[in-house]
């Protein structure tokens, strides 16, 4: 009922209304990525590598995350050092902050709903604006990776160098022994999972509240550092947990049995399911929306 006509207008309005926040978040994402590139350069210097990192190396360094934890920590024979990947964590937290900034607050949402005259158009416009913002965010991160590759004289290829895993503390025992690894699956997984998480955050915001949705997503991202499970979608965005780098079966090590790496198809299927469920559930919530579920009188 007018949805197809109105949602592009709601989309344009939402994109324009959130442009300050989007610019700030994109700038922050670019800054964090630049910081990670500088860290990579310093690590190369410290380890006396004279090779220029390729685009794939830089992308995987930015999305390194942390080594996969063993499923049973009780069998640890040596305590592992906990190194929080602050760069990765900051990138993920900024991306979910971006979503909570783009999603309209309760008063704003009421105004847009009444003006659009259609709950469906309103929801379509909002989730599309959130998706566009998330894509812009990752584009700004990608632009920095590209600029850093060019600045360091590296090749513009997604193939990664053999030195990368050791430089970023990936769990050595579990590394694949293939000759060529690619950063492309990591990029695609990150993009798909990030979009799925953004849509899930929108649906949670519609169901409860922007702040609750932000807190839930932030908690899930933080938990994914310590628990390796594809359903904690932060895992899908870590290069160190991708099957591109980590073998696909469980591996016995001195630290216990490590979980297998997550394959691209698992990321794709999970991201698609979460995205679809979030779009449908969010649409149903907004369609039946009664503001009293939000505002207590």
């Amino acid at each position: 009922m007018g949805g197809m006509r109105l949602s592009p207008r709601v989309l344009r309005r939402a994109l324009r209304a959130s442009r300050f926040e989007r610019r700030i978040c994109c700038a922050l994402g670019a800054l964090i990525a630049a910081g990670t590139c500088v860290t990579l350069r310093l690590r190369l210097l410290v380890n006396e590598y004279v090779i220029a990192p390729k685009l794939g190396d830089i992308v995987c360094a930015v999305l390194a995350g942390m080594p996969q934890p063993p499923p049973n920590p009780d069998v640890l024979t040596v305590m592992q050092q906990l190194r929080i990947p602050f760069g990765w964590l900051a990138l993920m937290l900024v991306s979910i902050y971006l979503v909570s900034s783009v999603y309209p607050n309760n008063q704003e949402l009421q105004g847009v709903m009444v003006a659009s005259g259609s709950r469906r158009a309103c929801w379509e416009g909002i989730f599309m604006s959130v998706l566009a913002s998330v894509l812009a965010y990752w584009a700004s991160v990608a632009a920095v990776c590209l600029a850093a590759t060019l600045a360091l004289g590296g090749e513009l290829t997604f193939d990664t160098s053999t030195w990368l895993p050791s430089l970023y503390d990936f769990a050595h025992e579990t590394l694949t022994h293939g000759s060529v690894r690619s950063g492309l699956p990591v990029c695609l997984s990150t993009l798909a999972a990030s979009c799925a998480l953004a849509l899930a955050q929108c649906a949670l915001s519609a169901a409860w509240d922007n702040n609750v949705a932000f807190a839930l997503l932030a908690a899930s991202i933080c938990a994914s550092l310590f628990v390796m499970h594809p359903l904690l979608m932060g895992n899908l965005m870590m290069a160190s947990r991708s099957a591109e780098f980590v073998v696909q079966g469980p591996v016995e090590t001195e630290f216990g049995t490590y979980a297998p790496g997550i394959e691209l198809w698992v990321s794709a299927v999970l991201s698609a399911i979460v995205s679809l469920a979030a779009v449908i559930a969010g649409g149903m919530i907004v369609s039946a929306r009664d503001v009293l579920r939000k505002d207590r009188i």
């Binding site: 309005r13 324009r16 704003e108 009444v114 003006a115 709950r119 009188i297």
Partner: protein, 216 residues
């Protein structure tokens, strides 16, 4: 048939009856007032009429179409309920432009005119975060007016306005009546309602008392 027809609307939240069998009609070119104490149900009734709250029972008809059935929201409505939704990082005119983008029917001149009507300067590029309470209220009224709606709903529009603002608002409501809008105004200020409304109702504990002044 009236342009706005509220038929035996009730709203119950858990055990609290917020609206109790409320019926109300309003024609185009008519200004109806809702007067009552805080918590009497004025805002809730307005939210029901806007389509923001689903009534427990009863129906709301806008120009013959049933809310929550034929239409989701009134097709041509300007609304000010409680605090206006203002984006603090933008100027007053930007805020109007952003909201007008959704429907795309208000021209740039309409937006500037709406801001002028409420006593603000459309060329003031200051961000709204610097606006006083009264200026925010004026901007909220401008947002409600800008698309020349057929249904104008103003909940406590004098809140935060100074004396000159109230006088300007009385003039604006008179102009809207003349334009042919169906205007519903709520206030706890009976004197204000008497000066702008064709007739007004008293609300108490979710019930509407018989209208006063409808025939006079």
């Amino acid at each position: 048939m009236s342009y706005l027809d509220v038929c035996q609307v009730s709203k119950q939240i858990r055990n609290d009856i917020i609206l109790d069998d409320v019926s109300l009609t309003c024609e185009l070119g008519e200004v109806v007032g809702l007067e009552g104490r805080n918590g009497s149900g004025k805002t809730m009734l307005m939210r029901v009429i806007c389509g923001l709250v689903r009534p427990t029972s009863g129906t709301v008809l806008i120009d013959g179409s049933v809310l929550w059935k034929d239409i989701s929201f009134p097709p041509s409505a300007g609304i000010l309920i409680e605090t206006p939704a203002i984006l603090n990082n933008y100027s007053g005119l930007d805020n109007l432009e952003l909201l007008a983008m959704v429907k795309g029917i208000a021209t740039p001149d309409d937006l500037r005119e709406a801001i002028r009507r409420v006593g603000l300067d459309p060329d003031n590029r200051k961000r709204c975060r610097t606006y006083s309470l009264g200026m925010r209220q004026r901007l909220g009224i401008a947002m409600a007016l800008m698309e020349k709606p057929q249904l104008l709903i103003l909940d406590e529009p004098t809140s935060g306005l100074d004396d000159s603002g109230v006088v300007e608002l009385i003039g604006i409501i008179a102009q809207e009546r003349q334009r042919g809008a169906c205007v519903l105004v709520s206030s706890h200020d009976k004197e204000f309602l008497d000066s702008v409304c064709d007739w007004s109702c008293h609300m108490d504990a979710g019930r509407l008392a018989p209208p006063a002044g409808k025939d006079g």
